[in-house]
């Protein structure tokens, strides 16, 4: 029945050959670290040093490509971890957002299930507009994260951490050296 329904629906849908409207051109936005930090902090995000982040107690689960920078995970069950550590693909200054993709190196739940999410970000990966950020989307399932999990369902009062992480921290890490064969270790 399903394919018959498909034909029924499709047969009645409009088709034209007119040109599509132009894609929206974003207003100019600075791709600076300052701008990113300002937007990210306004959402309730924190920017911390590697030492501060590492000083945390608690079980952490770490994405494969973050291990050389952060160190080994201390937890194997993403649902039990207190902290999820990931490496950002890029950051968007306009919105204070971070882009992550699912891959053999990245699990999807690492940025979602633990109550604290720590994102390692290379300063050189900051772009200006949302357009520039989403321009870096890979073919894989991805997520753009803009601040901590939040709800305002109860009388419009803002509450963080209802299902996703209550805290989102960014640790700025040095850029990759052009000749470096191994990633930086703090």
């Amino acid at each position: 029945m399903t394919s018959a329904s498909r034909e029924t629906i499709m047969a009645s849908l409009p088709r034209t050959d007119r040109a599509r409207p132009a894609v929206w051109e974003p207003d100019p936005v600075a791709s600076t670290l300052e701008h990113f930090c300002e937007q990210f902090r306004a959402l309730g995000g924190r920017i911390v040093t590697m030492d501060e982040a590492q000083a945390l107690s608690g079980e952490c689960i770490v994405d494969e490509d973050a291990i050389p920078i952060w160190g080994e995970p201390t937890c194997v069950d993403v649902w039990e971890a207190a902290v999820g550590v990931t490496l950002a693909q890029c950051a968007v200054a306009e919105t204070g957002s971070l882009l992550l993709s699912a891959s053999s190196q990245h699990r999807r739940l690492g940025s979602l299930a633990p109550p604290r999410h720590i994102i390692l970000l290379r300063e050189t990966q900051i772009v200006g507009s949302l357009e520039a950020g989403l321009g870096q989307l890979r073919a894989e399932t991805s997520v753009l994260i803009t601040g901590p999990s939040r709800t305002a369902d109860i009388e419009g009062v803002l509450v963080n951490g209802v299902h996703g992480p209550r805290e989102v921290w960014v640790v700025l890490i040095p850029p990759i050296e052009p000749e470096a064969s191994s990633p930086d270790v703090p």
């Binding site: 399903t2 329904s5 498909r6 029924t8 629906i9 499709m10 009645s12 849908l13 409009p14 088709r15 034209t16 007119r18 599509r20 409207p21 132009a22 894609v23 929206w24 974003p26 207003d27 649902w79 919105t95 204070g96 957002s97 699912a102 891959s103 053999s104 990245h106 699990r107 999807r108 739940l109 979602l112 299930a113 949302l130 357009e131 989403l134 321009g135 989307l137 894989e140 399932t141 991805s142 997520v143 753009l144 803009t146 601040g147 901590p148 999990s149 939040r150 709800t151 305002a152 369902d153 109860i154 009388e155 419009g156 009062v157 509450v159 951490g161 209802v162 299902h163 996703g164 992480p165």
Partner: protein, 456 residues
């Protein structure tokens, strides 16, 4: 007149505290919408115009764009299903569910108006599944056996006391009215559901024709959890939800978040390509997209086509003076407010819900805030015409008699001598007027007499 129109009748049953909850939350969201859109766009109206043009293009090319979306998403491993109406959509989803898990299994649901539209939960519960709404607001709606009163903030009609009582009744934890503590009680309860669920069901905010991706936006994280943790993900989407290209997303992400909740973008924008790839560490093994027509293919070829541009931001509900007084339940449909007053009769039939078009002052605020510039007042007028001709709406006064006077100046002028003594004359405004207000009385001189005396 005997029976009152449904929105008025419902509004009369509301407590003052409910009206206050709806009114103050709506007004707050209206204010934050304005300030955010001006912060995000140098020219918000130019952004709205472009978004409306893109949505117009989508509707003109729905066939082509859906084919492209289906082709690309299929390459990514997504399985497609097509439903002409709500019943077919329910049975398709039931079949996927029954294949994936035995009755008794947990199904986690992300907030989705499309699933509300087809009344999916009841159907799955009848089959023996444990269906759990995971959006905080929708969870409260579910445990209270209520329905959402707003398309974005489903429990806008409830205050924290009522929520606290519900949570205590359900054994979520010690009684508390602190929103943070209530949210944490829900987090703990729902986390177990995410971990044990075999199936996650969501809606779709945008389907991208050129990449085959589906895009979901949310703030809580329940949507991501529902579509990531279970083995099977089912996404139900109205066929109008497609966008031509991923490059269109930034504009719509900004407009939707700004219009809905006064955010720059929502906390999570989830770009789902398809099921987990062999080398990936997590994610669902199966992703199904169920395409829902349910009146849309008819609407796209009719006079109310523009209502299909709607991106479900709820800004028209928030700004609507009638919605603020009556709340969403007054509309007897999952789509309420100005959007619902058009979309509900368009989807369900003017014969069933055409009277909703009368639940408006035609003030035009809805069109003014609409991120895709849907001419809602214009469509409400067209619906009134259609509903009147179909005999669906009953009028307090016979307009044919009014037209007789209005085309016969002598009769008109004779009527005018009677009308100001409205307390004794049959007065068009009397029904429903004098219950709440003093009758109008003639103030000062009569214009026609004054003009006549001047001409002499």
């Amino acid at each position: 007149m005997s029976a009152k129109p449904r929105v008025e009748a419902y509004a009369r049953t509301l407590s003052e505290s409910t009206v206050n909850s709806v009114r103050s939350a709506s007004a707050q969201k209206t204010r934050s919408r304005v300030s955010m859109l001006h912060q995000v766009f140098a020219d918000p109206d130019a952004a709205r115009t472009r978004a409306a043009e893109i949505k117009g293009y989508v509707l003109d090319n729905l066939g082509t764009l859906l084919e492209s979306f289906e082709r690309e998403a299929t390459k990514n491993g997504v399985q497609f299903h097509w439903a002409t109406d709500a019943a077919e959509a329910r049975s398709i989803i039931a079949e996927i569910v029954q294949k994936a898990a035995k009755p008794g299994a947990t199904i986690v649901k992300a907030k989705s108006m499309a699933t509300e539209e087809i009344h999916l939960n009841d159907a799955l519960i009848r089959l023996g599944y444990d269906v759990v709404e995971t959006d905080l607001g929708e969870y409260v709606v579910q445990i209270d056996h209520d329905t959402p009163s707003h398309i974005v903030t489903p429990i806008i009609h409830k205050n924290r006391k009522q929520i606290a009582q519900s949570f205590e009744r359900e054994g979520l934890g010690p009684y508390t009215e602190v929103p943070e503590e209530l949210a944490m009680q829900a987090r703990v309860r729902l986390r177990n559901a995410f971990r044990s669920a075999s199936i996650g069901i969501s809606g779709v905010n945008y389907a991208i024709a050129d990449t085959g991706r589906i895009v979901l936006v949310e703030n809580e994280g329940n949507n991501r959890l529902s579509t990531t943790a279970p083995r099977v993900h089912i996404a139900l989407m109205g066929i109008e939800k497609v966008l031509p290209s991923e490059s269109d997303l930034p504009l719509f992400l900004r407009l939707l978040a700004g219009s809905a909740t006064g955010q720059h973008v929502t906390t999570y924008s989830h770009f789902i390509a398809g099921p987990r790839l062999p080398d990936q560490l997590d994610g669902p093994e199966e992703v199904h997209v169920v395409m829902l027509d349910n009146g849309r293919s008819k609407a796209v070829n009719g006079p109310y086509r523009d209502i299909l541009k709607c991106i479900r931001c709820g800004a028209c509900l928030n700004v609507c003076p009638v919605y603020r007084q009556a709340s969403g339940h007054a509309y007897d449909h999952v789509y309420s407010g100005p959007l619902g007053a058009v979309l509900a009769p368009v989807l369900e039939g003017v014969d069933k819900l055409g009277d909703l078009a009368k639940a408006s002052t035609l003030c035009g605020a809805c069109e003014e805030v609409c991120p895709v510039q849907i001419p809602i007042p214009h469509m409400l007028l067209m619906l009134r015409d259609e509903a009147f001709r179909a005999g669906v709406i009953k009028e307090p006064i016979p307009w044919s008699a009014y037209a007789f006077a209005g085309t016969n100046p002598t009769v008109w002028k004779a009527g005018l001598t009677v009308l100001p003594m409205a307390s004794v004359a049959p007065h068009p405004m009397k029904w429903g007027w004098s219950e709440f207000r003093e009758n109008p009385t003639r103030i000062g001189r009569n214009f026609r007499k004054w003009w006549g005396s001047r001409e002499k």
